[in-house]
Amino acid sequence: MSNNIIEVRELKKYYPVQGGVFKRHIADVKAVDGVNLAIKKGECLGLVGESGCGKTTLGKTILRLNQATEGRIYFNEPEEKVEEVEKLLSSESREERSRGQKLRQKIDITKFYGRKLLPLRQKIQIVFQDPSNSLNPRMLVKGIIAEPLIAQKLMNAREIEKRVIELLYTVGMAKEHMMRYPHEFSGGQRQRIAIARALATYPEFVLMDEPTSALDVSVQAQILNLLQKLQADFKLTYLFVTHHLLVVKHISNRIAVMYLGKIMETGTTDDIFEDTHHPYTRALLSAIPIPDPETKMEKIILTGDVPNPVNPPKGCRFNPRCKYAKTVCREAEPELEKAAGNHFVACHRWKEL
């Protein structure tokens, strides 16, 4: 088995914009526009970015909740196999490319449909942002947590009940909470229920879509601690989507910074926080309010807003807001470049800065 649990290659997700009398397709909202990402087994990858940069779309596309427009996603495939397919797909000869396509049908999860998705759904799960919206108000907690088990047909009724009780204890709740409705719980407890539901089918990979942004600080700390404990206990892999940088710093091993549908910088948490290369990451980091009046960091204040993803700026996407932008930034789009070890930057001028 390979090192990477998820490998994303050239992933694109466009939402069509329709207009005119006949609802013609006039443009695309390029929510995710060519993302390469690898998530290692057992790690917690933090995905950071402003709202509207496509981080949730990326996460949902990986989970196959959205159908990808283009690109490949491999889940738990051996590295050699992935490399082989990629090589075939990018080769010159037509024959090899078609052979690659055939191989890809078997392992690329964007090509899975219907019954083939069922075992995949068991292994990848999601915790949504706002627990008051993601739990069905008409279902008992028992029903909510049991639902994925019933859908997967993994156990019989008696085993399911046992599993639900076990799950409630693992997330720090009690057996008697089973026969209650979601509205009877506080925000933190609801999020615990959502986590229990995500863990029900013994997943390997869990997408955390801003799980603490609707919670208060003291509750947020409880949930973050719980998530860390669960990760260690069940050897889970997290993709932690958030806009809160201090939370990411606390929980992640590796961070990917996203801006307007593209990855701008990836690296280990220390790389990103101490050896920042990309000017956008720098601005993002300097904008965090630090709860300590003694440390005063120099603020880099970005002007303007995130541009419209329907027609992103030409060249580097960040150039209209970047104070180091030069002609090359306005013309050519930078690729992800290796800066050191596991640290990649998509910037033309990171060496000079």
């Binding site: 700390a221 409880q222 860390q228 201090l246 309010p289 300590d292 204040i301 807003d305």
Partner: protein, 428 residues
């Protein structure tokens, strides 16, 4: 330091169907002139209710049931302060937006989607600075007439100037009076005693007379020359609006007044809300979580803007937030609130260096920090239901140092060291 506003033992309750929610349990805060005052706490701890009580805009079924809110304006109080809870609604209307103004949490919901930005910003100019604006309009008109741009002969000139002044100012006053009478009539609607019936009849007659006057004035408004002056007034205000937007860093301020809120991004909407609040150069700006649903980079822009404004045009800021990072960055003094109690008040530096109240300590420990740490400490338990709040100190069920006395009596706010107030029995 001179006090600007003081809330003294304010109790606010919400009389809901389920029971009485005791949202504020004797909160005292003092905002001095020229400082940025922070109010922190988790959601539901009463931060917003505190400032709403200060502005007297607590929504029904909420009511301020006790305490004093003293406003120290240099105008009329002679150092004693005016208790605004005892003043009339009309007085409050003259204060709100003029001396104290407020930025609400979500810019997108606090702007009216069917009115243009220009109209919404101009509203507070029309309400509070009409005299100034009229004077300015008349001055520009005079200048135009003298320079020959506008051709009006002798007696018309005098006649129109007078009529214009009387008319435009008068109409607002009359409509206000009618609105006041309507409100009073609504209050008297159900009462049956003789005095109120007499009053009702009297008011009805008065209202009819006023309505007639308003009608006449409104007709006069449509006369060609008068109409022209009315337009001039709006033009003058528009210039002020554009100046204000420019000052707040809104890109192309000339076009923005004609736009509608949905055409702007979240950060821009928040700037417009700030513009409305700043139109009359208030002495106190209350910012109720102004950045809570903005991105970090936009948040940094808005915070920077408020900081700049603080050094130029507003005297004091009362800043409400749940983000301890923002408090550390913005504020001079801060009050930590928990479940309707003010636990601790201190200068920001003291609070972060030496938190005393067990809740403050817990809160500070549970925030993720820049330095690496293994596990976050959290406060066990959850915020209590305020219909049946815990007796005594409201934090005692979650407090690791709770003693017997904590569950019996509410701890008084005492001064621990200079400027550091704390409500906890550990320090008395």
């Amino acid at each position: 330091m001179q006090k600007l506003i003081e809330a003294r033992d304010v109790y606010t309750n919400f009389f809901t169907f389920e029971g009485v929610v005791k949202a504020l349990n004797g909160v005292s805060i003092i905002v001095n002139q020229g400082e940025t005052y922070g109010l922190v706490g988790e959601s539901g701890c009463g931060k917003s209710v505190t400032v709403r009580s200060i502005m007297r805009i607590v929504q029904s079924p909420g009511r301020i049931v006790g305490g004093k809110i003293l406003l120290f304006l240099s105008r009329e109080d002679k150092g004693q302060g005016i208790d605004i809870l005892k003043r009339s609604e009309a007085y409050m209307e003259s204060i709100r937006g003029n001396d104290i103004s407020m930025i609400f949490q979500e810019a997108s919901t606090s702007l009216n989607p069917v009115l243009s930005i220009g109209y919404q910003v101009a509203e507070s100019f029309l309400l509070h600075r009409l005299d100034e604006m009229l004077k300015e309009t008349i001055d520009t008109l005079k200048a135009e007439i003298e320079s020959g741009k506008l051709f009006i002969t002798g007696w018309w000139k005098k006649f129109q100037g007078l009529l214009f002044k009387a008319e435009l100012k008068g109409l607002e006053r009359y409509t206000d009076m009618v609105a006041g009478i309507d409100r009073r009539l609504y209050e008297l609607e159900d009462s049956t005693d003789k005095i109120s019936i007499d009053e009702r009849n009297h008011l009805n007659r008065k209202r009819d007379r006023l309505k007639k006057t308003v009608f006449v004035v409104q007709c006069v408004r449509h006369l060609p020359f008068i109409k022209h002056y009315g337009k001039k007034l709006h033009k003058t205000i528009r210039i002020h609006v554009i100046d204000l937007l420019k000052e707040l860093g809104v890109p192309n301020p000339q076009n923005v007044p004609d736009m509608y809120p949905h055409e702007l991004s979240g950060g821009m909407q928040q700037r417009i809300v700030i513009a409305i609040a700043l139109a009359c150069h208030p002495k106190l700006l209350i910012a109720d979580e102004p950045t809570s649903n903005l991105d970090v980079t936009i948040q940094a822009q808005i915070i920077d803007l408020i900081k700049n404004l603080k050094s130029t045009s507003i005297a004091s800021v009362l800043f409400i937030t749940h983000d301890l990072g923002l408090v550390a960055e913005m504020c001079d003094r801060v009050t930590v609130m928990y479940a309707g109690d003010a636990c601790e008040t201190a200068a920001v530096k003291d609070l972060f260096k030496e938190p005393l109240h067990p809740y403050t300590k817990g809160l500070l420990r549970s925030v993720p920090k820049l330095k690496a740490q293994k596990e976050l400490e959290s406060i066990p338990g959850t915020v209590p239901n305020l219909i049946h709040p815990p007796s005594g100190c409201r934090f005692h069920p979650r407090c690791p140092h709770a003693k017997d006395i904590c569950s019996e009596d509410k701890p008084p706010l005492t001064e621990h060291s200079e400027g550091h107030f704390i409500a906890c029995y550990l320090y008395t």
